[in-house]
Each structure stands twice: as structure tokens, then as C-alpha cells.
């Protein structure tokens, strides 16, 4: 059933017969050109639902301890330093795990890579019930935090299943709905804990039993991904590799092309100041409201949850905005929208630290969360276009950079008593504004950057950009076919200039490919 039509950019008849195999309309790479949220049709929308639910379960597990800290800190005799260190540990494991995950996706496919990581970190969640010291606490938070690397496989999978026109939306909804887990857990874990307590367990046993819930959930989602999921529209990596439809790539080459692309490094830095800030806030905001406004833990937890739950619509909005801007202004529109939203996030962060009344603080926090989470969605509207061969590595670098930002902001502003929490929040806002400026330096020869238009050289085309990642020997063997298709499909990133023909042969292929 594997399509040999992959090697021949299709005639209209072949495209139509491909079309019949898929529930959604597809392009020449068989990626869906529509995003239908309430469909579960295989393989596209099913992949979407599997990836966001499994990522959601990882967030639930990683942030399951903060809402139960009042009980855990007494059971384990923890100090504020122990808790702070564990918080940093929970987000630092994923820094390198995300990069490794990116490479694993490029080599083994997102389905196996994500399910493996989820099943490998599930033991850390189960073993949380056995800890009895500050060291044990730090270790379980550290190893559980590795599971946040499934973010990369989520984005990779969406970029493999959805075409340029909707990839921003798909990435942002999957990422945002997964991130919601960090908010949902602040409501789920206290609820599970109180149910178990009411059944008859003492406090110090009840919280331990509660951790089996995220553990089960995580394991089940991994099984679902393995049984129901598929790496690419045409099949799974290993199948495609064996039949030769998808050539097996070399790790060293993939890695090289990823780390030598400067745009990946810039996005890694800027993602640290939208997503990284989001993780930091997830860890400190409940305490902030609790201490500053003398709320009880229950109320502070609800406010903390609302920050994470805003991801339901804010991050997807970022992706949708990215795709809308791209339709009119192409890649330049995506970059401008990203810079604007993230800078506004920084501004509202500065304001949040200055708010003295509870209702004003909640209002500003919600506005801040919308901008910062939308910026996360907008970032991954740009990432799929930075590299085709090393998509996984670029996604991993960006994702890893997000966690580095979380580690840095917690270390600089929220460890110990150097700054009060409100000063820390204001200073973090200033750092966001400064570290967002590098977006102005991103430039694509075929599409331009924030301040410069596209190059007028004849070699500044999408094909040249993506095929420059392959050597002529590799091209002779036909390894570059996937990149070629992607280049054709990405011509839409020129914005409304797409109909002005600079490469007539490309335009003909792309119009027939869009059935």
C-alpha cells in the first residue's frame, strides 16, 4: 500500500487517487492542508489527538508535585531551598532530552521516540510514592521532567502531518493543549488526594497513592500512540525506510545541519523567554499569590491553574495568527507577529510585578499569559521552515532553549531571597523584552526578514534554501526528494507575492499539487 507515487511529483490523476486514500484534503507530500479539530480521521487528525493527549499527560506528571507541596514538604521535612532546587531540576532534565528527542525523531520517527520516552519516564512517576527525603524528591522531579521532551515529538509529528498553510495552527493547538496539563494538574492532584483521604488513608499516604493516577495515564497514552499512531501520512518510519521510500539518514549529517543553522539558535534563545517564562510562572505563581495577597492554598491553586489553562485558546491563537499573517505577508508577517506578541508579553510581565491589588494582579496575569503563550505558538509557526532535513534537531534546540530559559530565570530571579518575588517578576519582564530583539536578525534569502525584503538573486529560492542541505552525491541517490516537495509547498511563505512567477516550472507543479 506504500505509494511509489512519492517519487514522481504527480499528474492530476495520481493526485486524485492519492486523495481518495485520505479523509482530509492533502498536498503532494500527503500532508493535510486542512485542520479539522473535531475529526479523529487517521492518519492526520488521529496523530494530532494522540500527540496532544500524550504530551498533556507528561505535563500533568511533571507538575503534579507543586499543588501537593504543603503535604509533601511536611512529610519529607523539606526546606524552601530543597523545594526551589527540585523546581529547577524538574525543568532542567528536558534541556538535553529535548535535543536528543529531536535527533531521535529525525532518525526513528516521532511515534517510537515519544512513546519510548513516556514509558521510560513512567517509572519515575510510579516511584514518587517511595521517596522519603529531599534527595529522593529532587531525583523523581528531575527524571519525571525528562518527559517534557515529548513536546519536540509533538511538533515534529504535526510538521510531518500538516502542510505549510496549517502547520502553525496544528503545532500551536497540540503544544497549547499539552501545556494545559500544567494547569489541569493543579486541579486534578488535590482532587485525587482528597478522594483518597476520604476513603480512609492518612495524609502522608494519600499523596503517595495519588501519584499512581498520572503514572497510569502516562502509560496508557504511550500505548495508544504505539497502537493507533503512524509517523507519516504514508506509513511508519521503519516501513518506509525498509522499502526505500524514506531513505535512512545519518545522525552526524542531520545534527550538523541543525546546529550550523543560526536561525535555530536565535529561536532557541527567544523561546526561552516565552515558554521558559511560562514554566517558571507555573512553578512560582501559586506561592506568589498565596504570600502577597494572603490567600489560602485552594484559592492560590485555582489562580495558578488558570494561568496554565489559558493555553486552551492562547497558544492556538498564536498559531492561527501566524498562519493568517503568512497568508498575506508570508514569513515576514510570521516574524513580525512573533516579535510583537512576545515583546508585549514582556511589557505585561513588568506591569504584573507592579500590581498591588488582587483583582488587578489577576487581570494583568491573564493578559500576560495570553501574550506569552501566543508567542510560543508563533515561534513554532516559524520553526518548521528553518530546516527540512534537520527539522527534529531544530525543534529540539528550540524546545531545549525553552527549558534553559526556565532554568535561568528561576536561578537569577527566584532562588533565595535576593529579589522579592514582585521585583523578580518585573526584572524578568525586562529580560523578556531584551531577549526578544534577536528575532530581528532572522533572515531567509527567499522570503526576507523583519527589516529586509527577500534577496533578488536568482539563487534565492525555496529550492536552493532547502536543497543546500544535501550534497550532490546525496541528490544523485534521490535522498533529497522530500526536501524538494517541501520546498515547493513552502512557496506560500512568500505571502501575496506567490503568484508573481520567478520560477515558472515550480509554480506549475505547485498549482497542480494543490488539487
Amino acid at each position: 500500500m506504500l505509494s511509489t507515487e512519492l517519487e514522481k511529483p504527480g499528474t492530476t490523476m495520481e493526485i486524485e487517487s492519492d486523495q481518495k486514500k485520505f479523509a482530509l484534503p492533502v498536498d503532494s507530500e500527503h500532508k493535510s492542508i486542512e485542520f479539522r479539530l473535531f475529526s479523529v480521521a487517521a492518519p492526520h487528525m488521529r496523530a494530532f489527538h494522540l500527540s496532544w493527549i500524550s504530551f498533556f499527560s507528561c505535563f500533568v506528571s511533571t507538575f503534579a508535585t507543586p499543588p501537593l507541596l504543603p503535604v509533601i514538604r511536611d512529610n519529607l521535612n523539606l526546606t524552601a531551598t530543597d523545594i526551589g532546587n527540585a523546581g529547577i531540576a524538574s525543568v532542567s532534565g528536558a534541556v538535553f532530552a529535548r535535543l536528543a528527542m529531536g535527533t531521535a525523531c529525525d532518525l526513528f520517527g516521532p511515534r517510537l521516540a515519544s512513546a519510548s520516552l513516556i514509558l521510560l519516564t513512567a517509572p519515575a512517576v510510579f516511584c514518587t510514592c517511595t521517596i522519603d527525603s529531599a534527595v529522593g524528591f529532587l531525583l523523581v522531579r528531575f527524571f519525571t521532567g525528562f518527559s517534557l521532551a515529548t513536546f519536540v515529538s509533538t511538533q515534529f509529528w504535526m510538521s510531518s502531518m500538516f502542510s505549510a498553510k496549517v502547520v502553525g495552527t496544528a503545532n500551536a493547538v497540540a503544544g497549547g493543549w499539552g501545556n494545559m496539563g500544567g494547569g489541569a494538574t493543579q486541579l486534578i492532584m488535590p482532587l485525587v488526594f482528597s478522594v483518597i483521604r476520604d476513603i480512609g488513608a492518612t495524609k502522608f499516604t494519600a499523596w503517595r497513592i495519588a501519584f499512581f493516577i498520572p503514572g497510569f495515564f502516562q502509560t496508557l497514552t504511550a500505548f495508544a500512540v504505539l497502537i493507533l499512531g503512524q509517523d507519516m501520512p504514508d506509513g511508519n518510519f521503519w516501513n518506509l525506510q525498509k522499502t526505500g521510500s524514506k531513505p535512512k539518514d545519518k545522525f552526524s549529517k542531520v545534527f550538523y545541519h541543525g546546529v550550523t543553522n543560526y536561525r535555530g539558535w536565535i529561536l532557541a534563545l527567544t523561546y526561552g523567554y516565552c515558554f521558559g517564562v511560562e514554566l517558571t510562572i507555573d512553578n512560582i505563581i501559586a506561592e506568589y499569590f498565596y504570600d502577597k495577597f494572603n490567600l489560602n492554598l485552594h484559592t492560590a491553586g485555582i489562580i495558578a491553574a488558570s494561568f496554565g489553562l489559558a493555553n486552551l485558546f492562547s497558544r492556538p491563537s498564536g498559531g492561527i495568527i501566524s498562519d493568517i499573517m503568512a497568508r498575506r505577508f508570508g514569513m515576514r508577517g510570521r516574524l513580525w507577529a512573533l516579535w510583537t506578541m512576545q515583546t508585549l508579553g514582556g511589557v505585561f510581565c513588568v506591569i504584573l510585578g507592579q500590581m498591588g491589588s488582587l483583582s488587578a494582579a489577576i487581570l494583568v496575569m491573564i493578559i500576560f499569559s495570553i501574550f506569552v503563550q501566543a508567542a510560543c505558538g508563533l515561534t513554532f509557526g516559524v520553526v518548521p521552515f528553518v530546516s527540512r532535513r534537520a527539522l527534529g534537531v531544530i525543534s529540539g534546540m528550540t524546545g531545549g532553549g525553552g527549558n534553559v530559559g526556565a532554568v535561568l530565570t528561576q536561578l537569577i530571579f527566584f532562588k533565595g531571597s535576593k529579589y522579592s518575588k514582585e521585583t523578580g517578576i518585573t526584572l524578568m519582564g525586562i529580560m523578556i523584552i531584551c531577549c526578544t530583539l534577536p528575532i530581528t536578525l532572522i533572515y531567509f534569502p527567499q522570503w526576507g526578514g523583519m527589516f529586509c525584503g527577500p534577496s533578488s538573486k536568482a539563487t534565492a529560492t525555496e529550492e536552493d534554501y532547502y536543497l543546500s542541505e544535501w550534497t550532490s552525491q546525496e541528490k544523485e541517490k534521490g535522498f533529497h526528494q522530500a526536501s524538494l516537495k517541501f520546498a515547493d509547498n513552502s512557496i506560500s511563505e512568500r505571502g501575496q507575492r506567490v503568484n508573481s512567477a520567478s520560477t515558472p516550472s515550480d509554480d506549475n507543479e505547485s498549482t497542480t499539487a494543490r488539487v
Binding site: 511536611d74 514509558l119 513512567a122 510510579f126 517511595t130 497513592i209 502509560t219 511508519n236
Partner: protein
């Protein structure tokens, strides 16, 4: 009419401030004598051991100074060493914000004779160093006097309680089983995948 409204407003404000700014600990009379059974440095077990607390009015105080005392609350309080680096147990002179004494051992009506109570340490008392303090409350439930087993700097007569761990052998075994299961399931899926690929390739 406006003056009337202003007066009501002022009274309301006074009431609010009164409830917001609770009683200050430093304003309380140290007129109770409290003793507890644990020795200095003794280690007690939560859920098993008992603490016997005795309290009475300090006889050096003039008779009638306890006329306002209507009830007594005896509390288990954290010693400074257990408050270190733990802002959730911080001492605050304003008793409505004070978090030193988080566990009530007994609450009874005040009686000017010697009172005793034997308290079994609850199972949810955490591992820490403690002392015992008794507050005398007036008819509105506001603290008016206190007594404690330790000195003013909270350095003498402190005892330790060992909390329960909350761990159970059954939980440990269950977590080991489920962890092993998820790892084995992963290996199983890998092998099944490899076999399926080989089969479809051989076709």
C-alpha cells in the same frame, strides 16, 4: 444624614481593621504556667506516643486577673530550628498571620484549678522539633494570655517528634511492578514492530 453615614462607615472600618489586624503576641499576658511530659531532646513517635500537658494560672499574678479567660487552647508549636528556611511556619507577632502553632492539642473551658490533658500525637504531625503553648481566650475567642513550656527565646525544653513516613510495603511493591511493566511493554512493542516490519518487507 451624611454625618450618620460617616459614623457607620467609621465603625465598620474599625471593625474590619480589628478583625484584619489580629491580636499582637507581644501584647499578651504571660500568665499561664504550662508543663509537658516530654524531656528536653526526647524523641516521640507520631500516632503512638502521648504527651501529657498541665496548665494553670501563675500564682504570682493577683487574683482576678483571669476574670476574662473563658477558654483555653493548647497548641503544638514549631521550634525555631524547624522554622528555618520554611516560610510557611514563620513566626509573626500578629497572631492572625502567625504560623508558629499549627496543631491544636486540646480546647476546653477555662478553669482556675490545675488542668491536665493527655494527647495522643496525631498521625499527620510532621517530623520536627516542638514546644507546647497554651492560649487563654476571652468570650469572643480572642487571645488574651498565654503560657509555654519553653523560654522567651524558645531554646529550652524542646522535644522532637518523628512523623510517620506514609510509605507502605504494598505501595513500594506496586510501584516496582508498574515500573517494570512499562519498561517490559516498551521492549515488547519494539520487538513486535521489528517483526512486523520484517514480515511486510519479506512479502
Amino acid at each position: 444624614m451624611e454625618g450618620h453615614g460617616l459614623l457607620v462607615g467609621a465603625i465598620l472600618l474599625l471593625c474590619l481593621t480589628h478583625t484584619c489586624y489580629g491580636v499582637l503576641f507581644s501584647s499578651l499576658q504571660h500568665s499561664l504556667v504550662v508543663t509537658a511530659s516530654p524531656q528536653q531532646g526526647q524523641l516521640l513517635k507520631a500516632g503512638e506516643d502521648k504527651i501529657e500537658v498541665t496548665w494553670q494560672l501563675n500564682m504570682t499574678f493577683p487574683a482576678g486577673s483571669d476574670s476574662a479567660y473563658k477558654s483555653v487552647k493548647v497548641k503544638l508549636c514549631y521550634a525555631p530550628i524547624s522554622q528555618k528556611d520554611r516560610a510557611w511556619r514563620k513566626t509573626n507577632d500578629n497572631l492572625s498571620k502567625d504560623k508558629t502553632c499549627q496543631f491544636t492539642m486540646v480546647a476546653e473551658a477555662y478553669n482556675d484549678a490545675v488542668q491536665t490533658f493527655q494527647w495522643t500525637i496525631a498521625r499527620d504531625i510532621p517530623t520536627a522539633t516542638y514546644f507546647v503553648r497554651a492560649y487563654a481566650l476571652d468570650s469572643q475567642g480572642t487571645q488574651v494570655a498565654y503560657g509555654q513550656t519553653t523560654d522567651g527565646h524558645k531554646t529550652t525544653n524542646l522535644f522532637d517528634i518523628q512523623g510517620i513516613s506514609g510509605r507502605h510495603v504494598s505501595l513500594d511493591i506496586a510501584s516496582a511492578c508498574f515500573s517494570a511493566f512499562s519498561l517490559l511493554a516498551l521492549c515488547g512493542f519494539f520487538l513486535a514492530e521489528k517483526r512486523r516490519t520484517k514480515l511486510s518487507h519479506n512479502k
